[in-house]
Symmetry: C3
Subunit: 319 residues, 3 copies
């Protein structure tokens, strides 16, 4: 199914649409999606699930394994009564990866399925799959490209935790250069009246293109190297993983690392009502000692991912 | 469950039967199966599926990964409301493959299951499994042996595309020597009033034994090296993959390859009502330029595979 | 969910409980569980399954592949109408195993799930997972630690085969030193009025700690090297696998092996009403020639595993 690159909100109907990029979403559509996700939360919390998607089949086609994301989609489909073909592990050994073109694989699997969730290592793979397929394709990450459902669940989490998306000061911390979740979330936040603070080592600063989009949108924005500079006023701390491989000088990495670990001590400087998020996995950016702090939202964030994916699956399948 | 090698049609009842070989099927049984497959198509196209096999469990036991075939069975079982234990990836790392006998593995898995679909690398494995098991075994390919559900979906596709199986001229193209799908489909076609054309490089001609069966059946048959010799009169072109490894002389392979690629130019010589099939994956035998030609049936063929497997699963489970 | 190490039977309610160790079970609770397992057998034998756990999600998280155990849990959940996230193959390639802590993995997966079944290579992993999680954790084997559902299905099988657990003479044969199933089953048997016979090569005798527990319980117990010494009076022969790797002297292994193979000839010395069990896989301890002997209970034992797991899943999920 080929996606027009205009946004989808004119008539707010996601039925038969692909979900490829955050660029498809404007505030009306985001509102619609988030309201549906809250409806899903209500269903799960009260009765566990329902049968809206019974006799529908989702194929999870993951060229790269990602247990967190594939499990989230599998749970989402199952809680709506649908079924899953899980091609999520060891795809590297199967005929799918032995030379068959993405076009043929997608056009094969769509014969069995009502929707395909695709994780691929190459930028643009999701859009190409959508061009070939007659059924909806949901992008679950295409290399250095996008991972739109992650950005949607991040934004939804901010709204759920703080009750609004407007008037917030949001700090993003860590690897702002390579982290695609930061870029996608930033794009979505430009729809709202927010202040942005970008905290990273020099080497991992936000790319020019994204920074310029922020500036062009007239957003209040600042960059800094130290999380301590922003923690007292932040409503949201969006932490990300810094990978050691990015640094040629390990001493530099070790120094940088210290400035990006959120500790219980640092948290004493934060506001009483604020929220700490992380796309996971973490490798030391957030001290385990704050897991039980009510402001630590990262596990609720993961659960919100299931609700967002339930909302997307129900919507693209016309329920 | 041990299969008698006589055909099953006397009372046309597949309940509790194994599906091991195309030799089990005569025209009455084929008619029965194809009518059920059409019923399945109707169900899927109108409501997606039903609950005929709810609380039934299928184990997909694939010693060799085959995403296409396993996904087809998983979708088929799910669309009938059944459930699947998917042992389809990485079985090479599991205890199942670490020395345990096929007998013990099958007799273990049948404790949990109502039917087992088995893919194995050794000829005869499916029949051996059926000898051990008390529940139905469906052969999803046993090495160089048979892959009966592929032959059944191929035959069903010809009937669906052309409305009949009688009076047709069917050309099989490519590797006719090692391609088990060609051998099995040929055996099934001997039940009908067809003409057969076999197109292959010298090295990959149909084996003597199969050729003699065709001749003994009194079928109009010819062999040739070039698809151009047969395309104008063919009602069906059944294309197959030619593997480079079969040739010691690569120059010979390159020459042969050219004669077996179906191009848009070649298609201009074909009849207006004819059908192009391929068991997939393709590696150059069919130019992408004809994918949208209405005569290109290979993706519909894949979908028919799901309907045939739904029909088989429902039938052997007595629904 | 953190488990108190006292037994659970005071009010016989497994809802929201973890299943970590056989130490949690006393005779009242065992009776309750076995009666539920018989109820499950009745359901499966009459209608295949039901919908008690519809819209409930089980995550099977297996750090080590174990097709037998994971398939048993997957079948159990499906036959009760529940759904499964199967992280059972290739977990070694996924992000889950790439450095993420067990705590984070468990707290992630519990966002999607109502219960987690965990197989891990480290002793104590299941209890640690239970300490982190808010939902029930079921231990499906934690390295050299416990595998409580195996011991429960073993005990259930003895009751089913012989109609009682009291007054029996039970012989355990093979690797009694490293075999955790023997240790766990032995602990459970101490609740009953049984005689125990331990048959093993010198190198693989029951550990002191377990032996002392048996003696302290006042149980009639003997050790021997040869299965022929015990077969005539045994009501149960519990065979286990002897691994060649345990022996530095291969000649010693070969000699020992002979004394631990149960042959049709040996079976002529056994009582007419007795039962032969094995946790599988077998590698020569039981001759295939006795598979059809009515006293060979090892495949029924595997089926009982599904019933026990259905009973546990329904119970911890409050149905």
């Amino acid at each position: 199914m080929s996606t027009q690159n205009n946004t989808l909100s004119s008539n707010i109907n996601l039925a038969h649409q692909d979900i490829i990029s955050v660029n498809q979403f404007d505030t009306d559509l985001l509102d619609y999606l988030f309201n549906r996700a809250e409806e899903m939360r209500h269903i799960v919390e009260t009765v566990g699930g329902n049968d809206w998607l019974s006799h529908r089949v989702l194929t999870c086609l993951f060229y790269e394994p990602s247990t967190r994301t594939s499990s989230s989609f599998i749970a989402a489909m199952n809680r709506l009564g649908g079924r899953v073909i899980p091609i999520t592990q060891g795809v590297q050994f199967s005929s799918v990866s032995k030379g068959e073109s993405l076009a043929d694989t997608i056009r094969t699997l769509e014969q069995y399925s009502d929707v395909v969730v695709l994780r691929h290592d190459k930028v643009g793979a999701a859009q190409r799959a959508a061009d070939y397929a007659d059924i909806p394709i949901i992008n679950a990450g295409d290399g250095a490209g996008e991972h739109p459902t992650q950005a949607l669940l991040d934004l939804f989490t901010i709204r759920e935790e703080l009750g609004t998306l407007d008037g917030l000061r949001i700090a993003m911390v860590g690897d702002l250069r390579y982290g695609r979740t930061v870029h996608s979330l930033t794009k979505l936040l430009l729809h709202y009246d927010v202040s942005l603070r970008f905290v990273s080592p020099e080497l991992l600063r936000l790319p020019l293109t994204v920074m310029n989009q922020v500036i062009d949108a007239g957003i209040d924005v600042r960059e800094t190297h130290d999380v301590a500079d922003v923690i007292d006023n932040a409503d949201v701390l969006y932490m990300t993983r810094i990978q050691r491989e990015r640094f040629s000088d390990l001493a530099q990495y070790e120094e940088v690392k210290g400035h990006h670990e959120l500790t219980p001590e640092l948290m004493t400087q934060a506001k009483e009502k604020m929220t700490v998020m992380h796309p996971f996995p973490r490798v030391g950016e957030i001290h385990y000692g704050i897991d039980h702090d009510p402001r630590a939202a990262y596990f609720r964030q993961i659960k919100n991912g299931m609700y967002i994916r339930m909302a997307l699956l129900a919507s693209v399948l016309g329920k």
